[in-house]
Assembly symmetry: C2
Homo-oligomer: 394 residues x 2
């Protein structure tokens, strides 16, 4: 039996493309004359179109969130632990949409696309994109798919920020917003780590001021460093200790590498540097830095969230020090002050920020319970038995 | 009045050199055929030679710990807040010795020295040095200065590790070991950050496999990134928030830089990259990674510390996440199990790992109180009045 044939897998999936031929005005003042989005769907849209769930990806994510592209794929989509039959986002109940955002490098219009106005690669000239721009493009995709209102919009990290922005910008089009390991805006420390990653990329001589593709080059040293910084900071000190401790790499290999944590980081960095686009990394980290929905509401997060009509699940992880429970609490406190329905969950785990991608049992249980409540509250699933109506614990 | 003339300053100081013409066998199996140490002293050695304090520097430190080299210097030595008349290490009581370690780049034998065996620069061929090697070289300096036993050996971070190693390797030559913001060995996360810094340097095309001086080049991009990583991780999230928050840089300047934290990091990184030697940075971080005194004692820290005869002060800072209070507690617990005298202090501050360099009032108070007790317990200062005999709080 292949992995794709497992009963809890969405199986083999095929990416789809949607082309949007009218201009998309961006927050920076510029516009995309046209744009494409690549996306995948899992499950079946019901007759009323009420069971759609939008999955928003984080910094290095893309549209391939669940299942396999071929029967020989060894790895499923990036959120396969959360999406599939019987999983937290249960594809027996929900129609799941997952896309690559504009500015991305996995098929949607981005720096590797041709600028129709110049007929050359966008590269570093791709306009600055914001979380609000992504949300606006996602709304166009929803229109394209005939989805007026999402049952839920879900995301971790930068994905959670998109779900929050949806609740503010399109209050009537989202019933539930699930914000996992997110923050209302980045701290100076967050920005600092992003800037180190950006500086690693832009100071790499192979960056060629962003025109590396034309130069037949790739700033892989910079991308590798950027990813290494990311990897360390997305995990906790305890998690790294459990996983690597001070173990020495068995047979030396590349001479200088000694501790296992070092060769692990090299491996992660190197493979990322071969597959990800440097200009996309710069764009996405800038969008993260700039995200601050309160800014448009007089720096008042309560005012920003007051316009929302959605219910919220806000989930964080004890050892996540990049988007700590304290940052999620800021969102929860603002939602409470704004008189919104909010369920807050803090998951005790050693796995740091990356926990949102991992099969942490209690996380999956609470996530699943919340999503089941979404389904029955919107009337397309039976109300579960009493054991489950107790709902997710806070 | 110049800064150097302030009553609590050691004033104008002049670095001194000591040349050691016999070979120094290193832990790696190699040896230095001869070596030089550059050092400074503050205060006066008493007739019995019992009032000497050795100050050990951290990763990017050097011999110039206090005072000024000229009357026009705008900045004093790196630990001027702690060394001087009336300061925690009171130069009215103590004779303070501060040196640049071997492998350094401030005047002691290091990668920028000529290898007498090849008559060319050591560069990347400088032998791997360890904390134990530094301590051994420091013991030669003590012999040179006629110091049989130090009243105290003091250091923060990597400096604290040297003080710990002294207590183990030369138990009869150290009365008090002061370990500030230290750890018994690095965690996987610590090693990971060091490896990112090293990789930034070695992957810089200007590194030339360590022969950048002969190539008339300098891996300044790599050094800059290494320092930026250091700067972020030596401070706390709270500290950066208090200092920078999300404030925008007033007049844009270099175009891309936007948040103040970014231009701050650029400035710090750039100035470091002009003054520090890349090979030294690699050597020092490797020594940090490898430090693990328990390893020679069957991985038993209690056994390692059992040989010590010194009394200990172990001090940590609440928001230091690179060398957290939990890591200091490991040292304290081992010292208690080894039946040593130990005073443990945890200072509540937002300033992270860098706090050990900063004028945090309670830190300076407790430090001063401990050092006064050192002075009167060794008989070269009067026992203070009752208010002070209560001693430092835990």
């Amino acid at each position: 039996m292949t992995l794709a044939a497992a009963s809890d897998s969405v199986g083999i999936v095929t990416p789809q493309h949607a082309a949007f031929e009218s201009a998309l005005a961006l927050k920076c003042g510029r516009q995309l004359p046209r744009f494409d989005l690549v996306y995948e769907t899992y499950g079946t849209l019901n007759a009323d179109h009420t069971n759609a769930v939008l999955v928003c990806h984080a910094l290095s994510g893309h549209h391939h969130a669940a299942g396999f592209h071929t029967s020989t794929d060894r790895k499923p989509g990036w959120w396969d632990v959360c999406i599939g039959p019987g999983k937290p986002i249960d594809t027996n109940l929900f129609f799941v949409v997952s896309l690559n955002n504009i500015g991305g490098c996995h098929g949607s219009t981005g720096p590797r696309s041709i600028d129709p106005e110049t007929n050359r690669l966008y590269g570093p000239d791709f306009p600055v994109v914001s979380v609000a721009d992504w949300v606006k493009a996602q709304a166009h995709l929803a229109d394209h798919l005939g989805i007026e209102r999402f049952a839920a919009i879900v995301g971790g990290s930068l994905g959670g920020m998109q779900a929050m922005q949806w609740a503010i910008d399109f209050p009537t089009r989202i019933a539930h917003a699930l914000l996992i390991a997110a923050a209302p805006r980045l701290s100076a420390q967050n920005i600092a780590f992003n800037e180190i990653a950006r500086h690693a990329i832009t100071s790499d001589p192979s960056f060629h001021a962003g025109r590396y593709l034309e130069a037949n080059d790739n700033p892989e040293r910079g991308l590798m460093l950027a990813r290494m910084v990311g990897h360390v900071t997305y995990q906790s000190d305890d998690g790294l200790r459990d996983k690597f401790g001070r173990r020495i790499q068995p047979n030396g290999g590349s001479g200088d590498t000694q501790f296992q944590i070092e060769s692990y980081l090299h491996h992660q960095g190197r493979s990322f540097s071969q597959t990800f686009d440097a200009n996309t990394y710069l764009l996405m980290t800038r969008a993260l830095d700039e995200f601050d929905p309160a800014r448009d509401y007089g720096d008042d997060l309560v005012a920003a969230l007051s316009v929302a009509q959605a219910d919220f699940w806000v989930c964080s992880f004890t050892t996540d020090w990049r988007f700590s429970p304290a940052r999620s609490k800021e969102i929860v406190d603002a939602l409470i002050s704004a008189h919104k329905n909010v369920v807050s969950t803090i998951i005790d785990t050693a796995q740091g920020h990356d926990a949102f991608l991992l099969p942490v049992p209690r996380y999956l249980d609470v996530f699943r319970a919340y999503m089941q409540r979404v389904a029955w509250s919107l009337g397309f699933a039976n109300r579960p038995d009493n054991r489950l109506t107790a709902g997710p614990a806070s």
